[in-house]
Symmetry: C2
Subunit: 304 residues, 2 copies
């Protein structure tokens, strides 16, 4: 029904904790997109079906029962359905096996792709939900025996792939720590409006690369402010440099690496990497997400 004439319309959804994004597609071609601050936290009483129907209403009027493929925190304990994590190594087949299949209240076939769990490079338990789709997409867009990729964000991921399968990954709470320090710590107190400042960002990167323990490292945002070395409007740039530098200090410079995300964020990481002698190839996060989810859609629809 929904893939007659060889062309398929479908809806791709990235439903996270704070944001909701949807794409109306014809195969891989974007017809329309939606972005709303309607993450899981804004959904009351687990009314996920009704919320989604409301969000997608403009698209569903014309084309009812479009297939819906979802990834992200929507598959977590706090989401629509608790979909157990796939384990490492995780490739497309593994994710498809763990995919949750159901029908929406308005009759669309729907799938929620699982996240992935495994041990990080440091032997800690780790989890991701959503980034595994981008990683699959990356490996499809840029085929290679191995990939090492950085996915910066609230909880940045560093992942290694082999033959298109995720073999390990590590989370860094870079974005969340940055927000916490700016908004709630002594370091961010009594600041005027902030402006981006490359030299302060660079100083943060350089300072973080020296192996200084983190809980001491960040205090330099206080002492350099007291000493007049960083102007008040540039404290956030310096803190951003410290946080990204702390994350990038873990990267082995000998391996080629990808950075996956929005152009603003990947450019920032490339700028930081340049100071550290690392080479990061940037790829668009949405492109990877849609590529990865489209390939999974084909597989789950074959089964259905």
């Amino acid at each position: 029904m929904y893939h007659m004439k060889g062309k398929s319309n479908w809806i791709a959804i990235d439903w996270g904790t704070t944001n909701f994004r949807a794409f109306l597609l014809e195969d891989e071609r974007i017809i329309a997109r939606l972005a709303e601050p309607c993450g899981l936290l804004s959904v009351e009483n687990k009314q996920f079906g009704a919320t989604l129907q409301r969000l997608l209403a403009p698209w569903l009027e014309e084309r009812c029962a479009l297939p819906v493929v979802m990834a992200g925190m929507v598959g977590s304990q706090q989401g629509w359905q608790d979909v157990p994590y796939a384990t490492l190594p995780a490739g497309a087949q593994n994710l498809v096996r763990g995919t949750y299949t159901f029908t929406t209240p308005w009759g669309s076939p729907a799938w929620i792709i699982p996240g992935v769990t495994g041990n990080s490079r440091y032997g800690q338990p780790d989890v991701m939900r959503g980034e595994e789709i981008q990683l699959l997409g990356l490996a499809q867009c840029h085929p290679a025996q191995e990939h090492f990729a950085l996915l910066p964000g609230t909880h940045s991921k560093h992942a290694r792939m082999r033959q298109g399968e995720i073999v390990d990954f590590t989370t860094f709470m870079t974005g969340e720590l940055f927000s916490l320090l700016c908004q709630h710590s002594l370091l961010g107190r009594d600041l005027p409006e902030q402006e981006p400042h490359d030299p302060s960002f660079a100083l943060g990167i350089d300072t973080a690369s020296e192996g200084t323990p983190f809980s001491h490292l960040i205090f330099s945002a206080r002492t350099r402010r007291l000493a007049g070395e960083i102007a008040l409007p540039h404290i956030h740039s310096y803190l951003s440099g410290l946080l990204i530098g702390h994350e990038l200090a873990t990267v082995d410079g000998g391996q080629p690496a990808w950075v996956v995300g929005s152009s603003a964020l990947t450019a920032r990481y490339q700028q930081a990497a340049g100071r550290l002698g690392l080479k990061l190839n940037a790829v668009d996060g949405d492109t990877c997400f849609l590529q990865g989810l489209n390939s999974l859609r084909s597989l789950v629809q074959e089964i259905a």
Copy 2:
């Protein structure tokens, strides 16, 4: 007047950002004490004189014009008087030279002891205000050629002293990071009432000692919760272990070390140190503070 008959009454004050503590003394003997949540942040329009007079009123009625010796953030830019930091190496003479002398509105001779600035063990600029008094007191209570001391707190300090002078020190934002993560991060979200739990604390210490990058390390409070390895009421204990473990991982086990503070806090650090094969000798923070401030009082009164 105020040290007739060889005995001197005086007031010692530790005035910080959030708390105010005062001691009425006869030389080194405590006659009375006060503690109020009246840190600098609660003082409006720089009304420090009036605020102090109100806080000390019960003592001033009987004994007017008692000498007042102050330390802590009261000597900072945000305090009563911006008293420039003393530089390293910092001993009693150095602190006395930088002390700000004045008379309170009600006629008491008063002194504000400066803080100390210098480069940390990691080559970063660093500052302290208040801890220098405890360090002087420690060296007087327990004379030795060298001291290495930990002063745990919101901003923990690790200091080295030689011949009674502070030669370097390093700040770790242990207490503040703990509060931030518990109160404002994903890691502390949706937790029931917390209860102390030694095994979770110990697991945090052990996990932090493995050299894992901090922004990845703390994510284990999330993943171990998801995996059911740490019960919900014990997340704070685990985070406390991670934070203190991250701080103690920087300590060289070969040197004898002191830990200066309240009995609750020093006991916690000793417990953590025990797991790491470190030996910490605990000393009471108030005892050190009063000993150090009393010795400085003698010196500044001699000059006055």
